[in-house]
Symmetry: C2
Subunit: 476 residues, 2 copies
């Protein structure tokens, strides 16, 4: 048991630089930016298999069901999912994971990893992690240093104490952390060969990390201990105590302890890695063709160079003509166009849309709920049509509406429908009518997803016209 490495997947963040694909309600780590899996799924899969325990996940409350669903999608489940009441950067999140793990086994080895990075060669990365294990078991805090291939100013760097030679994954003492450098410093580090990129990935014993907090951030340790001790269980999620969490500093693990600790080692990693910090990075990682062009989905590039054309929906064609070093990302509800060298200004777009009150700034058309998801297909005068997906075994709340009646047509699977005192099964190609005011509930009693089309009619169709009587997800 103690031989296993416990991945701690950090996935509470929500950046804006990959808008419109990444939104506050469904951030980057859950999107399919590269390949067929989300970055989170790829991260979980990368740290699985022989030698790895099921992952611990730290996430935000809004994302807890996405985490469960995405892990189920790769046929795995978290050992525990910790819910941060609010984002407080990486230090409290990682410490909470260490405390939860140490409660079972203080000497447990924990691999701390962001869940929104790309590391294409998973086997090679796992080998590097296993190679670092003896050093971590000895009580050292091991970080991984990525071999740089350009003078990147967007990353922090790690200074080695000796030449990495042929980049064998051998641990050596870390000389120093280097903050995001200017271009000249970055070039000098690249040329010198003694500096690697800081990927924010650590392998360490839970008790060694806790000891480092004891020394360098004792107030945070006390606060996080309290938040973990008074955590509540909710449908299998571990909700850290909000009042304890509220008092914690918003600080990264590097600032809180790593830069102060003297027991740090670094293991070089010579494989490919990217934090996908913007659309320019996505373009680079997707592998541009001979003209520097990357297309995804039904996108067509005519006489383009150095350009990323992403069409995120099968039904939406994107065409670029004569583009040079541009990014265009098309979704049915939002489109972004910018030069590649302005990729870091995408956050300005999000701020501008937010200021205009446009929902696209933060929300996707698809709304994820504990029981599945829905999306609005069309909104007209006095009517709305929704597509609703309900997971096997899931149930919506028992509810009623003051202003609308609903027609439900099941198009896949079987629904168990309660209307006032009557319960019935409704299967594919059958419909039911929910009169205005009727108390009703929809459940999926089956083993496959249930999909239904809901046609609402009425004078007011807002999501807030809902009176909840009972809810298995405690939302009444």
């Amino acid at each position: 048991m103690t031989d296993l490495i416990h991945p701690l997947l950090l996935c509470g963040g929500s950046g804006t630089r990959l808008w419109p694909l990444s939104r506050k309600s469904f951030p980057k780590q859950f999107t399919q930016l590269i390949g067929d899996e989300s970055l989170f799924q790829a991260s979980a899969r990368r740290l699985s298999g022989p030698g790895f325990a099921p992952p611990l996940v730290v996430t935000a409350s809004d994302f807890r069901f996405i985490v469960t669903e995405q892990l189920a999608g790769i046929e795995t489940a978290a050992a525990a999912t910790l819910i941060e009441p609010e984002g407080r950067n990486t230090a409290p999140a990682i410490l909470a994971g260490a405390l939860v793990l140490a409660a079972e086994d203080p000497a447990a080895l924990m691999l701390v990893a962001p869940s929104d990075h790309v590391i294409p060669d998973a086997a090679r990365f796992r080998e590097a992690v296993q190679a670092a294990a003896p050093e971590a078991r000895s009580g050292r805090l091991v970080t991984f240093g990525i071999r740089p291939d350009r003078a990147e100013t967007g990353y922090g760097w790690l200074e080695l104490s000796r030449d990495p030679g042929d980049f064998a994954p051998e641990a050596q003492p870390l000389q120093a952390f280097v903050e995001k450098p200017d271009a000249a410093t970055a070039q000098a580090m690249l040329d010198g060969g003694r500096h690697l990129w800081n990927a924010g990935i650590f392998l360490l014993r839970a008790d060694a990390l806790i000891a480092a907090f004891e020394t360098h951030a004792p107030a945070m340790l006390a606060g996080v201990r309290d938040a973990v001790a008074r955590a509540t269980r909710d449908l299998g999620f571990t909700r850290l105590a909000p009042d304890a969490w509220a008092g914690l500093d918003d600080i990264s693990i590097d600032y809180a302890v790593m830069e102060k600790a003297d027991s740090l080692s670094v293991v070089p990693y010579a494989g490919a890695w990217s934090d996908l910090g913007g659309w320019d990075a996505v373009w680079r990682e997707q592998g541009p063709d001979d003209h520097g062009v990357v297309t995804t989905g039904p996108a067509t590039a005519i006489d383009c160079e150095g350009t990323l054309l992403r069409a995120e929906h099968e039904g939406q064609a994107l065409v670029g003509i004569g583009l040079r070093d541009m990014i265009a990302v098309a979704m049915p509800d939002a489109v972004l166009v910018a030069p590649r060298d302005r990729a870091q200004d995408v956050k300005k777009a999000v701020a501008a849309l937010k200021a205009k009150g446009l929902p696209q700034a933060e929300a996707l058309p698809r709304d994820f709920r504990p029981w599945g998801w829905f999306e609005s297909l069309v909104v007209g005068p006095r009517f709305q049509v929704k597509r609703i997906h309900v997971h096997p075994g899931a149930a919506l709340s028992l509810q009623s509406h003051h202003h609308r009646a609903e027609h439900w047509i099941v198009v896949q699977g079987t629904a168990k429908v309660t209307i006032d005192d009557e319960v019935r099964l409704v299967t594919e190609n059958q419909s039911v009518y929910i009169p205005l005011g009727a108390v009703h509930r929809m459940e999926n009693p089956g083993k496959v997803n249930m999909v239904l089309i809901e046609v609402q009619t009425g004078s007011y169709l807002g999501e807030d016209d809902i009176l909840r009587f009972e809810d298995v997800y405690a939302r009444t």
Copy 2:
């Protein structure tokens, strides 16, 4: 009666340079490119009021119901709508209009106008037309010359016989037609002040035009006479005889007769005019701001210059960051991005999509039918949801399907539904079920539009799974 001017609106064309807004199934003239009306509606309205008779319209079969619906939208109707069996450029279309008009009144004055141009000052243009009337009544073929404001190489030009002076709308003999010039020639004509743009707008007596064809294109006159003589009436449309039409030359009115006739006059027009020949022209006509930026719909420009950002759908946000002299047009099913100076290459995009077999090349999601229109809201495995609009008094064909059942939920108006031997009225918030194989029909017996949501389920959901038994639009 003979004092009235009869507009002949040409709207059979379907160019590709304004894709994705303009498509083969719903071309430019019917789109809202500028202002709240379509270009066709604005053209019809421009040539209406005191002194103008109801318009004659020449269009393609696929567009006949769009013509009727758009004219109804501005509370007018065509005196006659001629259906061209195939596009044959402007000469046969205009001649057919003249023959139809001459049958009633050989001396009738006809104002021939494309329906996809922009002439913002309608009152001023009507004045110019009225000013040209005496010249046309005398039997001259009068064309209108637009005052140029740039050395445009995309238009044909008209050479005057004398200086236009203050551009009073006074007729003078036309010296010559000039084909689309090179840049140096265009600049010389602009500087010389003796050349105007050829807008393809004519005022002439029907019999004078027929006489010109008699002289310069007698074979075409014989063919078009035959096509008109053997035209059939179909729901109020006049279908020109296809076999006669098939033998006609594909040729413009300029080439066929105007460049050869010696009875041409020109009336100068100093107001604004554009043929909106591409997205660069749309950008120019929409009135760029101080930064040269034009935005339409929910579009946001951040640090852009010289750029057109058009978001055609309320639910789709378009954001441009740091763009210079670019065009971006976003629709839910298609997005175009190109530099402004590549606007003429948009036709390449259409060709590329057509080669890929993508429906967006030529079709819109909304499908116009004699009875109204429908659009697919979502297509899933074994199901499809459609929104269907039926005009007052209209009826779909009596039909059945082999592979699908349908649920209909009326969300606006009242439907008269026939299912096998049963007929019933279904009103807002009511639903009916059409079993697989049932013979059924949907009608709108009311005075307002009827809107329903159709949920199809079945193993095959193609439009071609339809067996028509009766159809008021003769499609069985």
